[in-house]
Structure formats: C-alpha cells, structure tokens
C-alpha cells in the first residue's frame, strides 16, 4: 500500500468509525430520553379516570359497566385483556377489547351505537372516555402473560384473516403491514420498527400498547395504533372497532403469546 492510498484508507476508516459512533451514540441518547420519560407516565391519569368511568352509572339505563363480561365472567377485569381478542358465545363472534366495550356500553348501559363509539380517540379539549376505559382495563392485566386462544374455529378464522391482512400489499405506495414489520432491526428515521413475525419483537410490541404518546399527549389504544399505521400505509380509514381490525389484532395478539403484559406504557 503506498502512502497516498494509506492516507485515503485511514481517512476512510476514521470516517466509518465516527459514523458508526454517531449512530450508536444517537440511539443511546434516545434510549436515555425514553428512560427519563418512563419515570412518571401520564397514562396513570387515564387509568384513574377510566376506573371512575367503569364504575359510574350513566343514562339512559343508569347502570355502570361493572357487569360487563370481558370474557372471564361478568365484572371480571383482572386478567381479561391478556386473553383478548376471544370468541364470545353471546354474540357468536370474536371481539377485541374495544369491540367488546362498545357492545357492553350498548347492551348494558343502553347507549346507541353512535353514542357508544363517540370520540374513540381523544384530542385537545375533547378527551375520549374509551381511551380512559381501555387504559384502566388493560392496566388490570399488568404483569400477566399473554394467553390468547385459537381453539374456537372462529378464533382461528379471525387469526387467518388478520394474517392475510398483514401481508396485503396495495395502494399508491405498495405498502402492507409486512413492508415495515417483517424484518429485524429496521428503522424508519430513528424509530425502530418491530418485526411482528418475530416472537420476541411481537411480544415486546403488543405488551406495551396502549401507551401514552408523548407526541400526541394522549393514551392511544391498539385500534388507534392500527388506524395510524394504515394511514401511513396510504390505506383508507377503518371503521372503528370493526371485524377486520379485530382480525388484525387477533393475529398480532396471538403472535405475542407468552409475553408479559406491561401497559399502558409510554412511547414517543
């Protein structure tokens, strides 16, 4: 190697090193940022409000949600979320948490469908009762293992439909869920993308939703997470708490089986 190419080579090595360094120190600092934020999660405020709403009697029937059957019997909240979505014999279909909540608000509390799905996602000055209820209910499964059933044929169907949805490439940008979520260690900008086909990633992701999103100042549910993915995927808007979303959630939840539930969490 002559002197000239040696110099070039050295410069190249230094540059590559500083590059690698810049990248790893950026991600280190971002992990530090997340750690600092984890201390004091505003989602707790949603959990508190959700618990009040769960127990609050409201018109027209003047009953609370305390008799709502989330799958483990009327009124059982503890551990309900880690077994959802699931088959419900009273409606003969598979429901996720939010679909079930809508059902309980309609049948138990007597709300119309419009009332029951009103403000599914909150915004400034327009907070969502649903997000608060979801925060409360999910918090009651913290520390438990994901244990989603696929024994019932309809549960299996829901999973398979969700799987087809996950791989469905369409629209102007040719995106599917899989475009961003089927390879390890990928990032969009600096945001890490979980590989939802990889057990550990799928568990880590599913068990940390819902979450307080610092970018939005709200607790966001799984339905919101999926809606926002679909928006960026250049897909039209899914109807809130619909069967297709339940199917997709079923696919993701089942892939996360065995993961220890740890939400509402806090995310960017």
């Amino acid at each position: 190697m002559n002197v000239f190419s040696k110099i070039i080579f050295t410069i190249f090595v230094i540059q590559m090193n500083s590059y690698a360094f810049a990248e790893s120190s950026s991600t280190d600092e971002i992990s530090k940022y997340r750690e600092l934020l984890a201390d004091g999660n505003p989602a707790e405020l949603w959990e508190m409000r959700g618990e009040e709403l769960w127990k609050k009697k409201i018109a027209p029937k003047n009953v609370s949600l305390e008799q709502c059957d989330l799958g483990k019997g009327a009124g059982v909240v503890k551990g309900a979320y880690v077994e959802l979505p699931r088959y419900f014999s009273d409606v003969n279909k598979v429901m996720d948490l939010e679909q079930r909540l809508v059902y309980c608000r309609k049948t138990l509390q007597g709300l119309s469908h419009e009332q029951a799905v009103k403000v599914p996602f909150g915004s400034v000055g327009n907070s969502s009762d649903i997000e608060a209820l979801v925060a409360y209910i999910t918090s009651e499964s913290r520390g438990m293992k994901m244990n989603v059933s696929n024994k019932h044929p309809l549960e299996k169907d829901s999973y398979e439909i969700g799987k087809r949805f996950f791989f469905y490439r369409a629209g102007t940008h040719d995106f599917s869920c899989a475009t961003c979520h089927s390879a390890n260690k990928k990032r969009i900008r600096l945001q890490e993308l979980p590989n939802l086909l990889n057990k550990l990633d799928a568990q880590k992701t599913y068990t940390t939703w819902p979450a307080y999103r610092v970018s939005q100042g709200e607790v966001r549910s799984m339905q919101h997470r999926l809606s926002d993915c679909l928006r960026q995927q250049r897909f039209p808007e899914p109807v809130y708490a619909s069967d297709s979303m339940t199917a997709l959630i079923m696919f993701l939840a089942k892939n996360a089986d065995g993961g220890v539930y740890d939400a509402p969490a806090l995310k960017r």
Partner: protein, 204 residues
C-alpha cells in the same frame, strides 16, 4: 351484508368440519371486510386498495420469496413501465431534491387531495451527513457518486430505480415513485440531483 357474510363463514366452517372439503377463503373474506369496513378519505380510497395490480397480488402472496419465474416476470414487466425524461435531462436541482427527500406527505388519508407529494427518502435511507434522523430499510446513499460513479449507465439505472424500483428488485419495499404517480418527472430529476450532482451534500 356483514352479518350475512359472517353467517356464511359460520356455515362454511360447519360444513367444513363435516366434510373437510370446503375451506374458508380467508383472502376473499379479508377483501370483503376491506370493502365493507373501510371508508375513503382524502386521497386514500377503498377503490385504490381493492384494485391490486399483478405485482401487488404476487407480492402479497409471496412476501418473502417467490418462484424465479415470477420474479423475472415482475422485473421485466416493470422495466417496461419506466419512462425516461422527455427532454433527455436527468439532473435537476439538488436543493429541491433534499426537500422532497425530507417530505413524507402524499396520498395519506390525512393529506389534502392534489397536494404536493414527498419522496420521504430519509425514512429508509442515509443520504446526507447533516441529517442524523434517517432509516435503514434501504441502503445508504451517502457518497453516491463515489460508490457508483456517474456514468450514463448509473444515471439511467438510478432514474429507473426511482421510477419503478421493482424493475430491478421484485417486491422491493420501495414505492414505485414514477410508475405510481407519487413523484412527477421534475421531482425525480431533483432527487436525481441530490444523489448525483457533485455539488450536492451527498457527494461532499
């Protein structure tokens, strides 16, 4: 409609259990749900996502790998879609190219109809030294000219790659920017400049 479908589903399963002959067509059920449970909003329409082209169909069915024949079919058919610049000029303004690379808007349900689309290149690629917030789904494009040169062949390849990525890589994650009408000819020229202009920060 939905109820009917679910009813149908149930009956299929019941008969399926009995005869083990009829299997639920999950893909078809998914499409029916997509049609009935999604609402067009802004530039993101139900019709658009329901009308998959052949490429999208194959890539949905074979997300990871596909038979060689299909791969070749995709690449050949997509290469034929590439339209090179009408005036023979490939390189525009790298400063506009940088703006396009930074902009992630266009065709989302939250975007306006007829708005200016971005390329969102930084979402997946390292491009310039000054932007530290870049993704890694695609390869680094920093020092593009140093890595690839700037021969006519490279220029044409780069154009075609941006215009229709699947001309070279079947089922690439990269959108087919020209073919799908995301970026117009001038915008592609500007992105080309970002990669190939010696004055662009990519090559500094």
């Amino acid at each position: 409609m939905k109820k009917m479908l679910m009813g149908l589903l149930v009956s299929i399963i019941i008969t399926g259990c009995a005869t083990a002959a009829i299997k639920t067509d999950y893909g078809q059920t998914m499409l029916t749900l997509l049609k009935s449970e999604f609402i067009s909003k802004g530039p993101a329409t139900v019709e658009r996502v329901l009308s998959q082209d052949e490429v999208q169909k194959i890539c949905s069915k074979y997300p990871v790998e596909r038979p060689e024949k299909m791969a070749a079919l995709i690449q050949d058919s997509q290469m034929k879609t590439v339209k090179y610049p009408s005036d023979g000029i490939y390189i525009g303004d790298w400063k506009n190219g940088e703006k396009i690379a930074q902009n992630g808007r266009g065709f989302q349900s939250s975007d306006p109809l007829g708005g200016v689309n971005g390329g969102n290149c930084y979402a997946c690629h390292n491009i310039t030294k000054s932007e530290i917030s870049y993704g890694n789904i695609g390869p680094s494009l920093y020092n593009y000219v140093k890595a690839h040169g700037s021969s006519e062949q490279v220029i044409k390849y780069t154009w075609a790659k941006i215009y229709n990525s699947q001309a070279y890589t079947d089922c690439s994650s990269m959108p087919r920017f020209g073919h799908s009408g995301i970026l117009d000819e001038q915008q592609i020229k500007d992105v080309m400049a970002l990669l190939l202009d010696p004055a662009s920060p990519v090559n500094q």
